[in-house]
């Protein structure tokens, strides 16, 4: 599933939330031609708007319907449901373009390569807040394995 597909589904979810809660929401067609990551500041602003309007409804004592209301949108996208196991994957040949797999995140460049993390490009050997280099001598996690 590429970013445009994700954007389309997320848009449908927002539309459904707005419709179920009588919230006026006009979603303009996206004209962005570049590599979409599924969301953008405009999409995020719509989410923030919905959250604000839902809170207004709560405060005014009106019913708010969110829980599970867009599950059908996910089903139409071929998403997992709690009661259905994932379809067994048939043996495949190498995909022609990147395919998102279970648990797979494709590319994590190091900061040394000029990665932009959360909108901030760290300098070489500079660590971000909370970021630590790996100390192989300390082992991993809460347990000794």
């Amino acid at each position: 599933m590429n970013g445009k597909d994700k954007c389309r589904i997320l848009k449908e979810i927002r539309r459904e939330i707005a419709a179920q809660n009588d919230i006026a929401l006009t979603i303009a067609d996206c004209r962005f031609q570049g590599a979409c990551r599924g969301t953008c500041p405009k999409c995020e602003a719509e989410v923030a708007y919905l959250e604000k309007e839902l809170e207004k409804r709560r405060l005014s004592g009106k019913a708010v319907a969110v829980a599970g209301i867009a599950a059908a949108v996910m089903l139409s996208a071929g998403g997992c449901t709690p009661d259905a196991p994932p379809a067994p994957t048939e043996p495949t040949s190498a995909p022609t373009e990147y395919e998102e797999l279970i648990g797979d995140v494709p590319y994590i460049p190091s900061a040394d390569e000029g990665e932009v993390l959360d909108g901030y490009a760290p300098e070489e050997d500079e660590f971000l807040l909370g970021e630590e280099p790996l100390d192989e001598t300390e082992g991993y996690g809460d347990y000794d394995l």
Binding site: A67, G79, G130, P133, L134, E136
Partner: protein, 207 residues
């Protein structure tokens, strides 16, 4: 309440996962560290010494992922912990789940961890995706460098603890490592253990 004493080395927070890592719209949290060294590891940077990560408390992670709370609630989605091996940080996962108990939580694990780690998160996690590799100890050792006795013991106990309906066991055809017979034997053994949700698939080695 969480104490925020538990932390985890988080490499990546991948938003808006759909159809791959659990129910609904999901945020995949990738942590650093794994006891296994699989030849075809999907995320090899999770064990690479040069990889940088952020040491996050449950609250810090919550602040980061809550932007998608509306999507989670509307689709029955939530957060999936993967890696690396997320069960190296069970207290972190447990404390995180307490912060938003109405979200859906999935763990993608090899189960190659002490049982106490599994037990620590069992009440908070709704769905388990277990990467079993191969039930044959020789094949498992050849592929991961480790013994799988602990894995099978943990799976047996997990089936009793949370029920087969919450566990999907992934059984891969691994190029140059196991055979169709090995995979079939694994499937038979897992079914005999009570596993009901099996995902048999083939690793695709990327160029």
């Amino acid at each position: 309440m969480t104490s925020d004493r538990a932390v985890a080395p988080v490499v990546t927070v991948a938003r808006h996962r759909m159809t791959t890592d659990g129910t609904g719209v999901t945020t995949l949290v990738i942590v650093h560290g794994c006891p296994l060294r699989c030849r075809y590891c999907l995320n090899p940077y999770t064990t690479a010494p040069a990889t940088r990560f952020r040491t996050l408390t449950p609250s810090a992670l919550y602040d980061e992922v809550k932007a998608d709370a509306l999507y989670f609630e509307a689709t029955g989605g939530g957060v999936t912990f993967g890696g690396g091996e997320p069960l190296l940080y069970p207290a972190f996962i447990r404390d995180f789940c307490v912060l938003a108990p109405h979200w859906h939580y999935t763990v993608e694990t090899s189960l190659h961890v002490p049982w106490v780690a599994v037990e620590t998160v069992a009440d908070a996690v709704h769905e388990w995706i277990v990467d079993i590799k191969d039930t044959n100890p020789a094949v498992y050792r050849r592929y991961t460098g480790q013994d799988n006795t602990l894995v099978l013991q943990n799976l047996e106990r997990l089936l009793s603890l949370v029920g087969a309906e919450h566990i999907t066991v992934r059984v891969p055809h691994i190029p140059d490592v196991n055979t169709d017979d090995d995979v079939n034997n694994s499937v038979s053994r897992l079914q005999a253990m009570g596993v009901k949700r099996l995902d048999v698939f083939s690793y695709t080695v990327r160029p």
